[in-house]
Amino acid sequence: MIQECGALRRKEVIHPEIFDLWLECPEVAHQSHAGQYLHLLIKGATGVTLRRPLSIAGIEGGLIRLLVRIVGEGTSALAAVPVGTIMDVIGPLGIPFDYSKVSQALLVGGGIGGAPLLFLQDELIGKSIPTDYFLGAKTQDEYPLDPEEVERRSIFAATDDGTFGSAGFVSLQVNQWLQHHDHAGVRVYSCGPLLMMREVDRICRLYDLPHQASLENRMGCGIGVCQGCAVRVNDGKGDPRGGYRLVCKDGPVFDAMEIEWAVLGESYR
């Protein structure tokens, strides 16, 4: 973890509500692994007190890629930051994805949850680990990547309404893939809406596949000191941490076996 100030070098609008940012933070970039995130200060934004956690979506030399969806005051203000502005970043934070002993990776992303999986795809390709990436969204207008990149990355795109890629939930595609492929050495990685990850996990448990899920939560400090980002992971019996895990520090990537989706839902509001 370091704190680094670096310039916003590039900004590209993918949809009116989704944009790509490239920050020049070579020191953080150098230390970063897929699954980790930055805690970003959005200076001068009205209605914002705290930093905002954003997944590292990729690294290109000293540049860090972020893929951001506008949902509130912080992300709106971020979208309006002019190229060239110096941004204050703490990172890389959190536990990265683990792909030791994996011979085939299945990446399952939903909406903006696709961001960290892009970086993971890059890393897996770098390690020559066969990788299939399923990335879904509700509809074309919310699809977090432009078609050219989907093509280039050979992503299996899907939208709930069929306006881009195939129609239906990505979990269906994953299920199909699993019906037609060998499961040896397969590991699944998911990031996206809770219901999606839960469904992916149901499938993984069915096929007895290891699955890592990347969670979100509101964050205070981002480094494990405030205990604000705790999520319930089980009933707490016998768990020295009372069944709570810190998304910022114990995660955001969790082994899905640790997660009890029904109780987790309560931590998300």
Binding site: T49, L50, C221, Q227
Partner: protein, 308 residues
Amino acid sequence: MSVDLSVSLGSLKLKNPVLTASGTFGYGTEYAELYDLSRLGGVIVKTITLKPRPGNPAPRIWEVGGHGMLNSIGLANVGVEAFIAEKLPALKNLGAAVIVNVAGSTIEEYWEVVEKLEPQPGFDAFEINISCPNVKDEGMAFGSNCAATEQIVRGLRDRTRRPLIPKLTPNVTAIGEIARACEAAGADALSLINTVVGMAVDVQTRRPRIATVTGGYSGPALKPIALAKLYEVRKNVSLPLIGIGGISSATDALEYIITGAAAIEVGTANYVQPKITLEIIDGLKHYCEKRKIARLADLIGTLDTSIG
């Protein structure tokens, strides 16, 4: 011009008045990756209780626009034994004062946790979090009751030779009376304020934003409230005071010092700008230099309240 930034909290000397507030600085060393903690006046570790506490149900925090945040962490901590075994040793060579913040669910628990800590080396003072709910008094905070406060502090006085710093809750009618009770019971200094009770509602789901419904409000919006409380306490006791609430700049810190604080604690701002404490220290120095004030201590309580 060289400025002497050192201040005293009774027998506790600080090289500068900037401390980090309990609950916002973990067990004291987490931020060491980002900067040299020995530059601080001191660090205050999160509240330590007799038994480990998992903390409250989630969600536990909510950002209140640009005003601050609500939290209901529920004093999640490893408990005094694990603290002594696993956390305290790392604080030994910090190069800044180390203040351990403690609490209990009963008066006796306050005493016990201090008894366990007292023989340990490696820290300089106790801050007493009296804002905790008293399970025997319908969950009212100990610190909202003079008798309970006095009993806690008096008992602790018998159990430690280290400086005792009760941390006052703002959620009371007459904070000056609580302060006097602490003074009478042998406190060495007072810190204030802890968080203000607050709440927020999600109108879409009609549910509270944090699971416990109400929580503690902290951050920039608190400053006027905390300054007024400090001003009231200052009129009631002659103990050294530590100001807390929404401090995120040297100017904020100066408002407290001028009003009467010998030192200040930075809380929520640590999350936002971890190095803000260093900027505050530099800013205090700069302010004194510009005005040829040789000792920052001479600024304490210099508020001019005359009406022309």
